[in-house]
Amino acid sequence: MSSIERFQNPGLPEHVHRKADTDPKAAKRAEQQVAILFLLSALGTVGTIAAYIYIRSDLYVYIPILGSTNVQQMSLGIGLTVATLCIGLGAIQWAKKLMPDTEVIQERHELRSEDQDRADFVETFKERGGEAGIARRPLIKRTLGIALGVVGLSPLVLLRDLGPMPKKYFETTNWTAGTRLVLDPGGAYIKPSDLEVGAVAQVLPELPKGTERTLENVGKDAVLLIRLRPEDFNLDAERLSWTYNGIIAFSKICTHMGCAVALYEQQTHHLLCPCHQSTFDVTRAAKVVFGPAARPLPQLAISVDAGGYLVAKQGFTVPVGPSYWERNSSNG
């Protein structure tokens, strides 16, 4: 076993000359190819500038597969493509055909320093460290430790004003007892008769006069109104009393990650969130039937007021939207 012969490294293979190395005609041809490519590139640049100046920027054409395309943008892009591609191809053709292609061997140097240098470094480091006397003066060492340990706190503290404290923000919405439902978009009041069975509407709470609706409001207040046949519901007495003539209302903000739960499937009465496919069963108070959401969409109790318009009976009984640390989820 000891005399096993392994294959030996045969060394660099012999260099094979290219045609252009030996045949001046081939070399001349390669030179011309490179030159033509560089000229084409310059033409591409000229074309790009011409497209910028002469093509109207509101000109569109229909191109199969690509669809409706802006002629100027596309011409600029194609011009730029030609201009850059030909420089690239030219340079590489030049390197491959005309520049020397003999493989060269270079030795690697060892990365580690000489033992002596390393030892010297460690020695110097210790010696200089000793001069500072950090080991001999523990008081300085410890107090420096404290100072360096806390100095980073000030920039952190200075960042405090990045935003206000959340306080009770996540727990509140603009829905209160008697708030009228208004259509979004539009802002019109809604009567139960406006919704046919199977219909869906996005609604928002009517805000007090003079208050402007912000995106932050919408992100918490958005509610979906869905009308079913009353016999389709599978709810307990309390939740059934939160509906009105087959109309049921849920927060539209997903309890998983806050996307708008916008897809309603009429046949199965399922609401689907397009972000992560959490699926909620409308007939069973938006119980999660599939996907990563852990809690049902909060239901809004609705009724009609003296004018016959839909109103909220009360605000949401649980916070809407995704979970957070302070959320008390024991009651839903």
Partner: protein
């Protein structure tokens, strides 16, 4: 002397007298780089980064990173009179009113996709060939850092236009921050300057996207390249190549021309895609509002696997003592990716601990010759692909007429079952390839020429490989040549047993044929 030569001489003189750079330059102009197509992957990363800097700078001249409300009245008439953020309006302005603006936006987006794809491909190349081994561990970690920051940078970039799709992405990011135990709601309020969406977020991520992260990229890429330069590039095994040399072509002129030319080719590819392939047509999505959403909401591909993990997470929350922990967000969104990326960053150290190999390596492994590593890599890719499939489950469901629920359950189960199967199969394939190499060296190539012997027997003529080919197929390290099998003391205890088990798994190899064996065969 010609005038131009004289000019070069005097410039060199002027600069050298002030910097002393001539000596260093003289040595490095002829620095040798080994040649292989897969070494271009890292170049694509660098060049697409430069394209991102150029096209991104162009976009900042018109982009207004502000969530101030404006009423749109630009060239795109379907959105005329619609109230939207200034960020969205200025993105529309770039797309429809600035000549070449749409082209630059699309070049920027395509270059970002190529940048990420090239980073991942480059990572695969480095992993499967063992290029991360000593002394290149630092560069591996820097690479993992660049990949991580690249994902963040890409996400922030496509969030900036503040359209309905990207706003939805930000909403999800906010929910992840909000889900952090104890500090979540505070951090969310600090990050967004108050309640979501607020008006602070776009300006804040803008400065991170155009200054802080690109600065970090520049610094890390510089160190990455300096290390490549200083440690010299790895090379594939072959005739004349050893652990102690570099075989290839000199920087000047061959590599300057090739690399410089390749930059322009990468540029031309992004320009072509930007010219003909529409990407992120934000005008179709409309401005962001938290109450609306578009069906089939998808992140860019490098976020897709994360989104897929989040989609397949079980609906798990802990409710106790008046507090809520969302495992359905934390587990797939933070904990699992955290473990994966940490494991990836530590892999060079894990492998060297398992094998006990502390030597320098400059010759690359052929992936088949490191079956365990290759199988691990294939297994990780399988994991990512299954997550990615689930990230596009809605699109796949509509295209192939499948149910989302079916795909979700397939990936939920597949995530645990498929990667181990891929591991086993890959390892088997590697060993089979080693056997094939062995046969090739010992018995030569099949020529397809049949010869009839005087006895009437038909045999196929086999042609011996060249010495160079034989060397390439047999030069790799054999397990018995690994430095000292683990000492007894290193295999005690649970950690020791684990190490021993992994060490053995790593050492499974088909013995490379030797010259002795070949000679013996020739005797018969």
């Amino acid at each position: 002397m010609k005038r131009s030569e004289k000019a070069i001489g005097s410039v060199a003189n002027y600069v050298d007298e002030r910097t002393g750079a001539a000596k260093w330059l003289k040595k490095n102009l002829t620095k040798v780089f080994p040649d292989h197509w897969s070494f271009m992957l890292g170049e694509i990363c660098l060049y697409s980064f430069i394209i991102l800097l150029l096209s991104g700078t162009f976009l900042t001249f018109w982009f207004d990173p502000s969530q101030r409300d404006v009423v749109y009245n630009g060239a795109y008439s379907p959105l005329s009179g619609v109230s939207m953020s200034s960020a969205y309006a200025s993105t529309l302005h770039i797309s429809f009113d600035v000549r070449g603006g749409l082209l630059m936006r699309q070049i920027h987006h395509w270059a970002a996709l190529i940048f990420m794809a090239a980073i991942v491909a480059h990572l695969f190349r480095v992993f499967f060939t063992g290029a991360f081994r000593k002394p290149r561990e630092f560069n591996w970690i820097i690479g993992i850092g660049l990949l991580t920051f690249g994902i963040v940078e890409g996400f922030l970039g496509y969030s900036l236009p503040d359209d309905l799709l990207s706003g939805t992405g930000i909403r999800i990011a906010e929910a992840i921050i909000q889900a952090l135990p104890v500090v979540g709601s505070y951090l969310a309020f600090f990050a967004f300057g108050g309640p979501f969406p607020g008006t602070a977020f776009i300006p804040r991520i803008f400065i991170v996207h155009v200054l802080i992260l690109p600065g970090l990229f520049l610094a890390l890429i510089t160190i990455h390249l300096m290390l490549v330069w200083y440690q010299k590039h790895t090379q594939f095994p072959g005739p004349g190549r050893t652990e102690k040399n570099v075989v290839g072509y000199p920087l000047m002129p061959v590599y300057m021309a090739k690399a410089g030319g390749f930059f322009f080719i990468v540029f031309s590819v992004t320009a072509f895609l930007g010219a003909v392939a529409s990407i992120n047509p934000i005008w179709l999505y409309g401005p962001y509002t938290p109450g609306q959403i578009s069906a089939g909401s998808q992140p860019d591909w490098y976020m897709g696997w994360l989104d897929g993990l989040v989609r397949m997470a079980p609906p798990l929350e802990t409710h106790a003592f008046g507090h809520t922990i969302s495992w359905n967000i934390l587990l797939p969104g933070l904990i699992l990716p955290g473990i994966l990326f940490t494991g990836m960053a530590l892999y060079p150290f894990i492998e060297s601990w398992v094998t006990g190999d502390k030597r320098e390596h400059h010759l690359l492994d052929r992936p088949r010759n490191a079956p365990n590593r290759t199988a691990l890599g294939a297994m990780s890719i399988a994991f990512m692909i299954i997550s990615l499939v689930n990230g596009g489950n809605d699109i796949i469901a509509t295209h192939f007429h499948l149910t989302i629920n079916g795909i979700m359950w397939f990936t939920r189960i597949g995530l645990f079952i498929v990667p181990p199967i891929v591991f086993i199969i890959t390892k088997r394939i590697c060993l089979s390839l080693q056997r094939a190499d062995r046969d090739l060296v010992l018995h030569g190539k099949e020529t397809g020429r049949l010869v009839m012997l005087p006895s009437g027997e038909m045999v196929e003529v086999h042609e011996q490989l060249t010495d160079a080919q034989k060397w390439t197929l047999t030069q790799h390290q054999q397990p018995d040549a690994l430095p000292a099998p683990l000492p007894e003391s290193a295999t005690r205890g649970l950690k020791g047993k684990l190490r021993k088990r992994m060490n053995q798994a790593h050492a499974i190899q088909i013995p490379a044929p030797t010259l002795s064996e070949l000679k013996e065969l020739d005797h018969h």
